[in-house]
């Protein structure tokens, strides 16, 4: 069955939307075609970012206004090359456009945006979308770049051939956005009337599936035809939570045809893709008067350095060094400022409120908890600013390209590199950055191992332990740095080892693909980079902030209750508290690692964040006037630790115990914020709980081996 084009124009003109409801638009396009920029230009700050229920795919809905000021809803769908989905993101695009999701209505109209400099491949998705039986507006983005490259396009002819409005546009300069808005405001939009020939051996199957989809799955005829074509193209469709399954009858028909073709040796899906591309090539021959020059452009010249066998590593190293230097140096000022403000606020409340449980709940629980969440923000903001910059310039894809070979050793692909690297600063943005990994299993493995990379919150613990382990100034800086590097190396090897293990046994899957576009280098648009950065930070605060605050209050409660009778020093109070009890309960478990119950208190309280261990030790070992924070003078604390003894008089913090404790912090999941973010990103408590168990279990095992082994050797 072929689409009879002539009828389409007269019979299927979309009825004007009723007075109460404006049409809902979906915005679709390939990755790197400027879709987000157009969406931002259309909707400005009027965006709502959420999640599709049951999947971690971002749901972005914005509002724009028609020429008469009526609000129009626009759904920004993830970028995809095809409706034959290979990832959850792409599955969402497919399911929304086909009206397969119960949580979102099928969009009334579709805006397709293409990168005009790369017309043929971009038109493949458009070609699939034209089949859907909905009015479509085609936006030719990057028109200026295409013209500069020598492309001469007959827009009116393209409009005529497809039978839909075609709008040349430069989204970065907001050129063409007004015209798009005018087109979107039209009460009636024609349906596409593009014709293409379905290959003869496949046409009967399309007709039969279409009829069955209408009859058994309740689809409308046009969308049923599109769905039939997709069923015949896709070989192994990705399913996500919330998408409706096919009826048994339709599945049986599909299976029947596939079996028959397999016997006859017909490559149905390849034939369908080819006939679409044939149609696209014919269309391009009609509308393209002069093709863009395809010689080595500026991008290729840049790439000859950036992915050069030698210079490539230097460039990668330089970019990463700048990234980390800026995180560690720039983030420190706002982080210290936030710490100071939180302390000031706490002190102020302590001053104005009468002493009591409520005051302590507010200052030590709520304010400290909010501070603990907010203190992450500078790092998250800076990291996402850089990630946005790398993404929008096109370097991100090059980094993945360079690192793919190394990552493939453990069964991952190059796209896991940047999230893992970011985790050296902080696992939270690293885990949030895994959304660029299409393969669900790869993404999960990356999330599971990311917190093993030594993050900046481990530094205070490492520094304290190194100071206790190698006291005085006689020890060379080299030994201290060497010990520090050893910790980083342990975490890194741990992460790759576990990634390999998980890919091999736990989350077995096909080896990940590395079919990735290397987009041309482009100057980043600061507005979009900043927008992206603020959006991420907002998501972190909204999604993780409340839970983290709750856990902070619980942790505070554990150290503040039960109250020590009478007036107690902070040391006596914490020993008497639930946390103290927990430390004592833990002692039999951690004694084989050389830790006593007082270190146990530190392990319990530093679940809030690793650096809390340092301030907890200060309380437990009664160091007065300990300020905390990164630049605190740890000398008095170090002295106190050196003086600490077991009941039988043996020193507690022997060099071996200090080393073991550092190793414990390399592996153990001592960060509730990470747990909460993993829960948000995987949509269940299963994975964060598994992660906590395997990380802390590994920490215990490694520490056991190190401590017992070290003792046997006489340390």
């Amino acid at each position: 069955m072929h689409l009879s084009g002539a009828r389409v124009m007269t019979e299927f003109v979309q009825k004007p939307a009723g007075p109460g409801r404006s049409p809902v638009y979906a915005l679709v396009g390939n990755p790197n075609c400027g879709k987000s920029t157009l969406f931002n230009a259309l909707t400005g700050l009027k965006q709502k970012v959420g999640n599709y229920p049951g999947v971690t795919v971002e749901k972005k809905i914005g509002t724009t206004y028609s020429q008469h000021g009526r609000p129009i809803t626009v759904i920004d769908l993830p970028g995809t090359y095809s409706l034959a989905a290979r990832s959850p993101d792409e599955a969402i695009v497919r399911d929304v456009l086909f009206g397969r999701r119960a949580d979102i209505a099928q969009p009334d109209r579709i805006i397709c945006i293409v990168d005009t400099t790369n017309l043929e491949r971009n038109l493949y998705l458009v070609h699939q979308v034209l089949d859907l039986g909905r009015p479509v507006i085609l936006v030719l983005n990057m028109m200026d770049l295409a013209t500069n490259a020598g492309l001469d396009l007959r827009v009116a002819r393209l409009e005529h051939e497809l039978g839909i409005p075609v709008i040349p546009c430069e989204a970065v300069n907001s050129k063409g956005v007004l015209e798009l808005r005018l087109a979107m405001s039209r009460a009636d939009l024609p349906l596409p009337r593009h014709r293409w020939d379905i290959p003869a051996p496949i046409a009967p199957a399309v007709a039969e599936l279409q009829a069955s989809l209408v009859e058994n799955d309740g689809k409308q005829p046009l969308i049923a035809r599109a769905e039939a074509l997709l069923l015949l193209t896709d070989q192994n469709p990705v399913r996500v939570a919330g998408s409706m399954p096919l009826s048994e009858r339709t599945s049986a028909i599909l299976a029947g045809w596939k079996k028959r073709w397999e016997g006859e040796g017909v490559d149905w899906s390849g034939t369908l893709v080819k006939s679409r591309y044939d149609a696209i090539t014919r269309l391009c021959a009609e509308v393209v008067q002069r093709a863009a020059s395809t010689g080595p452009g500026a991008s290729d010249r840049i790439d000859s350095v950036v992915v050069h066998p030698l210079w490539g590593w230097l460039v990668l190293g330089a970019i990463m060094t700048v990234l980390f230097l800026s995180i560690f140096t720039l983030a420190e000022y706002p982080m210290n400022w936030i710490d100071a403000q939180v302390a000031t606020l706490g002190a102020w409340v302590k001053g104005v409120m009468p002493p009591g449980d409520l005051r302590d709940l507010i200052t030590d629980g709520a304010i400290a908890g909010v501070g603990g969440v907010v203190v992450f923000l500078p790092q998250i903001l800076i990291l996402f600013f850089f990630l946005g910059l790398l993404e929008s310039t096109g370097y991100m894809a090059r980094a993945a390209f360079i690192m793919d070979r190394l990552m493939s050793r453990v069964g991952l692909n190059g796209k896991s590199f940047i999230p893992l690297l970011s985790s050296y600063a902080c696992a939270i943005p690293g885990i949030m950055a895994t959304r660029t990994i299409e393969d669900t299993k790869d993404r999960l493995v990356t999330i599971l191992v990311a917190p093993l990379m030594s993050c900046s919150a481990r530094l205070p613990v490492y520094l304290l332990m190194i100071a206790a382990l190698l006291p005085g100034d006689r020890v060379s800086v080299g030994a201290k740095v060497g010990l520090m590097l050893l910790m980083y190396a342990l975490g890194t090897f741990g992460a790759f080892g576990f990634a390999w293990l998980f890919k091999k046994y736990l989350l077995k899957g096909e080896p990940p693909l590395m079919i990735m576009e290397l987009p041309p280098y482009r100057l980043p648009r600061m507005k979009d980079v900043l927008f992206h950065m603020l959006e991420r930070a907002g998501l972190f605060l909204r999604r993780a902030g409340t839970i983290i605050l709750g856990i902070s209050i619980v942790l505070w409660f554990l150290t503040a209750y039960p109250r020590h009778p009478g007036s107690a020093t902070p040391q006596e109070q914490i020993a008497h508290s639930f946390a103290g009890t927990a430390g004592r309960v833990l002692e039999p478990v951690i004694k084989p690692l050389g830790f006593d119950w007082r270190i146990g208190i530190g392990l319990v309280t530093s679940f809030a964040a690793r650096e809390v261990f340092v301030s907890s030790m200060a309380v437990v070992f009664s160091v007065d006037h300990f300020e905390g924070g990164k630049h605190a003078d740890i000398t008095p604390l170090r002295t106190a630790l050196k003086a600490a003894i077991w009941p039988d008089g043996r020193p507690l913090f022997t060099p071996l115990v200090c080393l073991t404790l550092m190793i414990y912090y390399v592996f153990a999941m001592q960060c509730m914020s990470t747990v909460v973010v993993v829960k948000r990103e995987t949509n269940s408590w299963r994975w964060p709980l598994f992660q906590t168990a395997y990380m802390t279990g590994t920490a215990w095992l490694v520490c056991f081996v190190v401590f017992q082994g070290g003792r046997t050797l006489g340390f």
Partner: protein, 81 residues
């Protein structure tokens, strides 16, 4: 006689025409959908610093794929008739 070889064996900078590759497997469907089809002209731009993956140019844009996929793609050197 046309000189056919595997895409993974193509020298850097060489231009060729794709002749055939498997119809099944997610990698090959995705390659087709991204415009890599029998009959398409393809240029091997470079390999990654560690030799894998490859960067090719098709239909005016650049694409990466691993050698393990490129081994299954048969190409014919341009001008090799």
């Amino acid at each position: 006689m046309a000189s056919t070889l595997k895409l993974s064996q193509l020298p850097v900078g060489a231009r060729a025409t794709i002749r055939e590759f498997p119809g099944h497997g997610p990698a090959f469907l995705r390659l087709r959908e991204m415009g890599v089809l029998p009959g398409t002209a393809i240029t091997l731009m470079r390999t990654a610093p560690l030799g894998d993956p490859l960067e090719v140019r098709v239909r005016g844009y650049n694409l990466t794929l691993r050698k393990s996929e490129a081994e299954h793609v048969v190409v014919e050197l341009a001008g090799g008739q």
